[in-house]
Amino acid sequence: MKRRQGWLFFIIFLLTLAIYLLINYPLQLGLDLKGGSQLTLQLVKEDGKVTKEELEAVNSVLDKRVNNLGVSESNLQTLGRDQLILELPGEQNPLVASRVLGKTALLEFRTQKVGTTTELKNLQLQRLNIKDLISEYSLLEKDKNDDISLNNIRNMLEDIEDNLNYSSTSQGLYAKLIDTKIYINNEIANLFIKTELSGKDLINAGRRQEQTNNNWEVLLTFSNDGGEKFENITKSIAGTDQLLAIILDGESISEASVGSQFSNTGITGGLATISGNFSAEDARELEVQLKGGSLPLPIEIVETNTIGPLLGSKNILKSLYAAISGLIFVGIFMIFNYRILGLVSVISLIIYGFFNLALYSLIPVTLTLPGISGLILSIGMAVDANILIFERIREELKRGNTLIRSIDSGYQRANSSIIDGHITTFVSCFVLFLLGTNFVKGFAATLGIGVAISLFTSLSCSKTILKFLTTYQSLRDRNLYLSKESFL
């Protein structure tokens, strides 16, 4: 009897601990329950596998970018060998994040090839033209279809294409415009020669509004080494008609001349500004990208999952109703069929529920919709264990054994079946957790934890409570255990 009391206190202690944990460490809800966006990013490598170092490097660059974006409570983690998952809670727009994160942001400084001045001037002019056409087209799209203006744009585009001796192969006007823009940018970049200076030589980036107009510019701060390189480059082209281009991901964002006053020393001080007609938002995005450094490998966004916050709270309520009503019905069924034994199983199920939730907050397990269904199924497993035991106890009682002996041998004989069932389920959970996607992992985690706890609660908890109840003489009536009629 003493040992049983020890167990009872132990269970009460664990239960108190569980409730304490739940109050102090609230459950973490997944995005499908609280709303938000989830982006899956795939690293793209043409040949060979992505190495661990590369994945980590990309992870750290993206982490810096996300932090600099100022997204609160975001979560970035690696998935498998070549994927990353970014979670943005709440109403934050996934579009901005995807734009900022998706770019490689490889910054280069290049000097112009000698004798290409006229070519460059023409390309710069065409770039301006195509930019106007694109903004004109975007305006048009909002005001329904306007055939005259569309035709106008089409003709102007043809003029540009003729001038460049280029023809876009894409279908659709918008795609053609974008193609031509990319072509021009490439041609401009090709007129420049690479230098040693690149984004790696930066130690900081910032932004400020230009004094003369509303445009923004991005400020670059070089490292000592980078500052020297910048001095040498500017010295070499100062006073000539060669320009210095700042190129981001192969696209020239600014071309500038260096005045002859710098021909002796170059531009010193280790600072530079890029002023390429940036809007406030553009400047901020570029700043974030440069601060985080360039990505060692390009990434592609392969999955975007957005759930509005309102839908999230609806999901919680619905699943909560389902879980609670399911439990109540199961409880009624058990008490109806097993009387006192049913009551014991209801109490141990409630304890089971608390233990589960407490472990979720302790590990921590992020609760998602599939996670909740895993929990509900594991409750089924726990009930099954109780049924196995109670059926054995019933059999023993029918054979005319005493109550105490029936309980003891009931537990003993149901043991092996219960352990088998739990192990097979645990094996599938384990495999699912190892191999499954995030979605599947949530299910496997809650079901696996549930099965492990169920082994404890159904074998020791319910037995302890039952033994405790049977110490009262009035609760030892056999009729309280054997329902007289049963529909099966």
Partner: protein, 305 residues
């Protein structure tokens, strides 16, 4: 006292023919689906596995939402969009008294997806962006997920088989696994038919449900085989009768367990969110078929002529 007394020995042939018919129907469904449907696969794979874009959003309406036919919306969309490939393959539905719009398209970039919503808002009126739910899955990721799900399924089936073979002797293990594959095949077949008639698609949750069914089915069969083994050791009765007795002894347990597992699933079907609806259905089917196969089919294999 007992209302139920299953006579396995007498009904053995009936059980076998019943299972045979179920397997045959599933097989026909899978074949029909592979060759005669527009997706040409044994089962209708959902967006999870083939990639695409799924959007659900509610409209803001005063009192009642105006009724507008989905075809008309798509027709109007054609006027706005440049990309014909998207508009021609769009599937648009209006549910809940025209309040909820759900859209399926091939894979789109986020920008294009946002453009699409804006266009729809221009056609159909204000939308409540708080209720927006969107999923974009690239075709590459979809294939990866499919392979991933198939491997998880195979590896864990293998692990379960291994455990059973260690736990029982070879004959018992073989029949337990036969019953397990019987259950999984029939659930798969039912979903093939659902795909043919109701265009129900399977997603990664379906793979999860198959795995859960596998666990349950093996568990149920193991409990009964355990009882058979125990009784064969104890009693000096006729072999066939011992098996029948064991099944009847564990019948209440199997039935009760199925009922208590079906209750929460039923509440999930009735009150749970839509994303878990077909998951709960397939689990319920699996549990019903699993109980049948462990009570009737698996022990019938063990009977001797």
């Amino acid at each position: 006292m007992k209302l139920f007394n299953l006579n396995l020995i007498k009904n053995r042939k009936k059980v076998f023919s019943f299972s045979f018919v179920l397997i045959l129907l599933s097989f026909i469904g899978i074949l029909y689906s592979s060759f005669n449907t527009n997706y040409k696969r044994p089962i209708n794979l959902g967006m999870d596995f083939i990639g695409g874009n799924e959007l659900r959003i509610e409209r803001i309406c005063e009192k009642k939402c105006s009724d507008i036919s989905p075809d008309k919306v798509v027709e109007n969309l054609k006027m706005f969009s440049e990309n014909k490939n998207i508009v021609n393959n769009i599937k648009l539905q209006l549910q809940n008294d025209y309040k909820l719009i759900s859209i399926r398209t091939p894979y789109l970039k986020i920008e294009d997806s946002n453009k699409l919503i804006n266009n729809i808002e221009r056609i159909i009126g204000p939308l409540n962006f708080e209720t927006k739910k969107s999923r974009l899955i690239g075709p590459k990721l979809g294939r990866k997920l499919l392979i991933n799900c198939a491997t998880s399924l195979l590896v864990s089936l293998f692990a379960i088989s291994l455990y059973i073979t260690i736990r029982f002797d070879r004959k018992y293990a073989f029949f337990a696994l036969l019953a397990l594959f019987h259950d999984l095949f029939i659930v798969f077949g039912i979903f093939s038919w659902l795909g043919i008639f109701l265009s129900i698609e399977v997603n990664s949750l379906f793979a999860v449900s198959l795995l859960t069914i596998a666990g349950y089915s093996v568990n149920d069969t193991v409990v009964i085989f355990d009882r058979i083994r125990e009784n064969l050791k104890l009693k000096d009765k006729n072999y066939n009768e011992t098996i029948q007795l064991s099944v009847n002894e564990s019948f209440r347990r199997t039935a009760f367990t199925s009922i208590t597992t079906l209750i929460p699933l039923l509440t999930l079907i009735l009150f749970g969110s839509y994303s878990l609806f077909w998951f709960s259905i397939s689990l319920s089917l699996g549990i019903i078929i699993g109980s049948y196969s462990s009570i009737l089919l698996a022990p019938s294999f063990l009977l001797k002529d």
